[in-house]
């Protein structure tokens, strides 16, 4: 820097030698590798062979018959939740209550599917829509608290998760609400009645794997989210709000209205995910106490891992779903399946480091350049 002629701060960073895509690929490679090494160490420390663990994971996720269809099925709600999270974060709001919003969506679907009479298709579409609205409204509670009273949504959305669990618990244990009272029901566990067979998502069979059309819906959703965020006025408003609320307000973007919309969308996506899980037959198409099964948390992590890019969410959701379905095959290796949770969180954590380091390096370069241009 000292021998150069003065550089303006704007181009101080100079042309990057890295192709950004190559850089991103390297970034993901390193972070996933780092997470895998740490996790392999964890497995080794507890006295197991990590090679066989990895083999079991791949078998369970893709290779064994029918497994990759299963993986795509699990990826569907994860992807939807992640897309909602992306929309929220781009607008600057951290909704971390997807687990609860997902439950509320499934609850709405269960009410419509088991308590109302009508044609299958009508109930299916109506239930999915109601699920999305229920999830959105549940996030709306947090939005109300945020924009009326300044309660941080990071705290309220999380606390609402615990309330949602109790609401579902109430619904499935109460006779007039959702509890299954059929004496011929298969298990004695307290659940809702199963959705009728007419209210199910169609399934396509490809090479012996059953793929629910929900997956294609989620793919469509990813495309839509990418398009809206990148190419529409509404998406621009959200991004503006997320990157600089002050500028956004000066430009006429209403903090409350746009923010509440963003939170509503993120909740609606989670609610839709819950409704979709139910119509795709999760836990025998019955609402149960543990129905959400941490899918909400997974979607949240996927959004972080995809660094808030809707299209990147697709491979990341499939990766996380693969770890989940693969973990079903871990019993034979003697390693507890929860090791997968550690791998997932490690990946996200490892990925946070490189962009932050790069940000710091850029800052330093700009400030050095600024000092160099200052007249002595």
């Amino acid at each position: 820097m000292s021998t150069d002629s003065p550089v303006s701060p704007a181009d101080a960073s100079g042309p990057s030698l890295w192709d950004p895509r190559l850089y991103a690929l390297l970034l993901y490679g390193v972070s996933v590798g780092f997470a895998l090494v740490i996790s392999a160490g964890l497995v080794a420390v507890t006295g197991n062979a990590w090679g066989s663990v990895a083999g079991a994971l791949v078998d369970g996720a893709f290779l064994a018959p029918g497994r990759w269809g299963e993986t795509l099925g699990v990826a569907t709600p994860i992807l939807l939740v992640a897309l909602g999270m992306v929309v929220g974060v781009r607008a600057g709001f951290f909704n971390i209550g997807q687990e609860g919003q997902l439950l509320m969506g499934a609850l709405a679907m269960a009410v419509i599917g088991t308590r109302l009479a009508g044609s299958g298709l009508l109930l299916l579409v109506g239930g999915l829509a109601a699920g999305a609205v229920a999830g959105g409204l549940y996030a709306g509670v947090a939005a109300l608290m945020r924009f009326r009273r300044g309660v941080p949504e990071v705290i309220s959305t999380l606390l609402l998760v615990f309330v949602a669990f109790q609401i579902v618990g109430f619904a499935i244990t109460t006779d007039w609400f959702l509890r299954d009272l059929d004496p011929t029901r298969p298990s004695q566990a307290v659940t809702s009645a199963a959705l009728p067979d007419s209210v199910r998502l169609p399934v396509i069979t490809v090479w012996g794997n059953e793929v629910s059309i929900g997956f294609f819906l989620a793919l469509l959703g990813a495309g839509l989210a990418a398009f809206v965020l990148a190419r529409t006025v509404f998406g621009f408003k959200l991004r503006l709000l997320g990157s600089n609320p002050k500028v956004a307000q000066q430009a006429g973007v209403s903090f409350g209205r746009a923010g509440a919309t963003a939170l509503f969308i993120s909740g609606a996506a989670a609610g839709l995910a819950g409704a979709l899980m139910l119509v795709a037959g999760a836990s025998s198409a019955r609402l149960t106490a543990g129905f959400s099964n941490e899918i909400g948390w997974q979607g949240l992590l996927v959004a972080l891992l995809a660094r808030n890019r809707p299209l990147l969410c697709i491979p990341m959701a499939i990766l996380f779903a693969a770890l989940r379905t693969g973990s079903g095959f871990l019993a034979a290796t003697g390693v507890d399946r929860t090791v997968v949770d550690v791998v997932q969180a490690m990946m996200v954590l490892a990925l946070l480091v490189p962009p932050a380091v790069e940000f710091m390096r850029d800052r330093r370069r700009i400030s050095i350049a600024a000092q160099a241009t200052e007249p002595a």
Binding site: G150, L159, L300, T338, Q344, V348, L349, A356, M360, R363
Partner: protein
């Protein structure tokens, strides 16, 4: 209606209720005291949840290995600090977003705790009850405050310590200035991000201690769901207290009481909807947050990262 009032009177007259309210309140107070310091420095440190769980697990495992509650508590504090170190360095050294970091750290600790719980199967145990002479014989509040397992009394020392650190030391002044006006603090030579990190370490150590207290001073056995969002309730207690020490303590006790109420109702033989009771502490916290958040002035730079030269 008079039935309900009578029942409430019964519950609030029962000494057992106050005993468990203090235990649960003390658990929240450990976390809330630490969180107060972190927030004074300008961080909404949601990794407090992870620190609590890490402290609970670390404390239990160390107790199993050593058979000593003291070592268990120390290990709990160490586990809490190590979680805090990850969170603090990611958000105030590498300037990653503090919420993203906090969420990730919490999920990581949850995953690790689940895995270790399944692999190591920690047992846990409980410290002995020590009644403080004279004080424990004060009617109603005496047994509740002064006849508890001995780690409970740590909090009675930590309250003045935290007050002294925050309001009577240079460190505390720098911490508060980092939370109120980091630019000005930076110009006057305060290392803003270092103070913020240290504040989070302090918070992590208290939370870790609180987590270990939860198992070794209260419940007696480890469970992955033992913390169950209480870290976030501790954050709510800080909001409730308007970022003052006194208010934060009152908040911790109030939320502890809601928890105790939930436990006392079925014990005294009253029939209340189980789900409503279980949701009660969370609902109460949300309602209180709704009405109270705007009342107070929060640290001006709360949740704003500090990078020199950037506003």
């Amino acid at each position: 209606m008079s039935d309900i009032l009578g029942a409430l009177g019964d519950i609030f007259a029962s000494p057992a209720m106050y005993g468990s309210a203090v235990r649960l309140g003390v658990f929240l107070a450990f976390a809330a005291l630490g969180e107060l310091v972190a927030e004074k420095a300008g961080t909404i440190n949601i990794s407090v949840e992870g620190s609590l769980l890490a402290g609970a697990l670390g404390g239990t495992v160390a107790f199993d290995l050593s058979g000593s509650v003291v070592i268990g508590l120390a290990a709990g504090a160490a586990a809490g600090v190590s979680v805090a170190m990850v969170a603090a360095n990611m958000s105030h050294r590498l300037t990653a977003d503090q919420f993203v970091v906090g969420i990730t750290v919490n999920v990581l600790v949850l995953g690790l705790a689940g895995f270790l719980d399944a692999t190591v199967s920690p047992l846990g145990g409980r410290a002995g009850v020590v009644a403080i002479p004279f004080l424990s014989r004060v009617p109603v509040i005496g047994p509740a405050l002064f006849e508890q397992t001995w780690p409970t009394y740590l909090v009675y020392g930590l309250v003045p310590l935290t007050w002294w650190l925050l309001y009577r030391t240079r460190w505390g002044l720098e911490v508060r200035s980092a939370g109120e006006n980091p630019q000005a603090a930076d110009v006057s030579g305060v290392h803003v991000n270092r103070r913020r990190r240290e504040a989070i370490y302090y918070g992590g150590s208290l939370s870790g201690l609180g987590g270990a207290f939860l198992i070794l001073g209260q419940v007696g056995s480890f469970d992955v769901g033992a913390v169950g969002g209480r870290g976030f309730i501790a954050i709510a207690a800080v909001y409730f207290g308007g970022w003052t020490l006194r208010g934060t303590l009152i908040g911790a006790l109030l939320f502890g009481m809601a928890d105790a109420f939930r436990l006392a109702v079925p014990v005294l033989g009253y029939q209340v909807n189980a789900q409503l009771l279980a949701a009660l502490p969370y609902i109460l916290t949300l309602v209180v947050m709704y009405f109270i958040t705007k009342r107070f002035v929060q640290p001006a730079a709360l949740a704003r990262p500090f990078v020199r030269g950037l506003r």
